[in-house]
Symmetry: C2
Subunit: 226 residues, 2 copies
C-alpha cells in the first residue's frame, strides 16, 4: 500500500468541514461517533469518510481514543476558560452564573455535532479519559461554587440545588438528541431557569443584559489581545 502522507495527493477531493487534514479527521469522526456510535466506528471507517488512507490518519492520531479525547475537549474548553475568568470578576454571582450558563448552552447548541452525547459511553470511565473527566469535574465545580453563592444570596432555602445548574445546562445535549436539532429556546430559557431553581427571585431581564454584556466584554478583550 502506498503511504499518502501530508502534502501528497489524496484519494478523492476534500469534502469534510475543516481547513486542515486534522480538522477533517475530527469532523468525520464526530459525525460517525454521534450517528453510528463510538464502539461501532473504526479508524478505517474514519479514514474512508475523510478520503485518506488509514496510515495518513495515524500520522495525526495514534489511536481512536485520541480522536475522542480531542473531540471531548472541544465540548468543555471554552466554558471552562470562561468559568475561570468569571471567578475573578466583580459582577454579582447571579450575573456570573447566568453568563456561564448562557455561553455554555450556546456552545453546546451550536457545535456542529452533538458530542456531549458521548459523555455516557462506557469507554469514558477508563483511565485513558481521566484527564478529560477531571476537567469536566472542574467545570462542574465552577457551576456549583457560583450556584452556592446564588443560593446564599437568595436566602439559602434551596440546599443541595447548587448541584443542578450544571445538569440543566447539559440537558441541551439530550434535547438535541431527541429533537434531532439544536433547541432554539434553550439559550433563552435555561439560564433564567437555573437562577429560579436556586430560589433566586431578582430581576431576570436586568441580570440577562448584564450577563450578555459580561460575556461579550470578555470576548472583546480576547480579540484585542490576539
Amino acid at each position: 500500500m502506498t503511504h499518502i502522507g501530508p502534502g501528497r495527493p489524496r484519494l478523492e477531493p476534500r469534502r469534510r468541514q475543516g481547513q486542515t487534514p486534522r480538522a477533517e479527521i475530527l469532523d468525520a469522526a464526530a459525525e460517525l461517533f454521534t450517528t453510528k456510535g463510538y464502539g461501532s466506528t473504526s479508524t478505517r471507517g474514519i479514514a474512508d469518510a475523510v478520503g485518506i488512507r488509514q496510515a495518513s490518519l495515524y500520522h495525526h492520531f495514534a489511536a481512536k481514543d485520541d480522536i475522542l479525547d480531542a473531540l471531548l475537549a472541544e465540548t468543555i474548553t471554552a466554558a471552562l476558560e470562561l468559568a475561570e475568568r468569571l471567578t475573578g470578576s466583580p459582577e454579582p454571582a447571579p450575573v456570573r452564573l447566568y453568563a456561564l450558563a448562557w455561553f455554555d448552552v450556546r456552545q453546546l447548541c451550536t457545535a456542529r455535532w452533538n458530542l456531549g452525547a458521548l459523555y455516557l459511553v462506557p469507554e469514558l470511565r477508563s483511565e485513558r479519559f481521566a484527564d478529560f473527566r477531571q476537567r469536566r469535574d472542574d467545570l462542574r465545580r465552577h457551576y456549583e461554587a457560583l450556584a452556592a453563592a446564588v443560593v446564599a444570596e437568595a436566602g439559602g432555602v434551596a440546599v443541595g440545588s447548587e448541584l443542578l445548574p450544571f445538569r440543566l445546562v447539559e440537558s441541551v445535549i439530550n434535547i438535541r438528541s431527541d429533537e434531532g436539532a439544536s433547541p432554539g429556546y434553550a439559550q433563552r430559557v435555561i439560564p433564567g431557569a437555573v437562577l429560579r431553581l436556586l430560589g433566586w427571585r431578582g430581576d431576570a431581564e436586568q441580570v440577562r443584559k448584564a450577563a450578555i454584556r459580561l460575556v461579550e466584554g470578555i470576548d472583546q478583550s480576547d480579540r484585542e489581545n490576539d
Copy 2:
C-alpha cells in the same frame, strides 16, 4: 450442539438476579449494555453471562434489539402509568408535578442498572424503537402539561420553562453515570427545584407532603386491586 431449552439442566448454576430465565437474561444484558456498551455487546456475550446457550436465549428474545426494547420499557412504564393516573386527579398541578418528579427520580435512582444511559445510543433512532420513543414522548408531554399548569398558576412568567422539568428529572441518569452511584440527594432536591424553575413560589414542604401522600395512596389502591 445440544439445545438446552427451558426446564433442561443449565451449563452452570444460576447466578443472575431474577426469578426466571427471561429476567436473568434482561439483568445480564442490562449490565453488559451499561458497562461495555450496546454496540459492543453480542447475544453470545449475554448468553455466556447468564450461563445458558445462545439458542436458549433466542427462545426468549429473537434479537438483541428485543432485549434492549424490553429494558427501555422498564425505564418509563411505571412513570407513564402514574402520569396517566395523575391526569384525572383533583390535586393542584404543583402537587401532581411534584408527585410525578419524585416518583420518577426514585425509580431512575433505584433501578439496578442505569439504563437511561442508553437513551443517547444512535441505534435508538431507528424504526425498531419508534414505539419506545413514542411512549417516552408521551411521558414528556405529561410533564409539559403539568408544568404548563404550574407556570400559569405561578403567573406565567416563565414561558418555555415547561419543557425543562422532564429534562431535570432525567439528569439523574447523568449524575448516576458520573458519580458511579445513585445520588442520594436527587429525590429530595429535584422535585422542589422543578417547581421553583417554573416560577412557583408556594410552600414547598406542604406540597412535598401532599405529593408523597398522593403517590402512596395510588400505590395502596393498586395493591388492594391486585
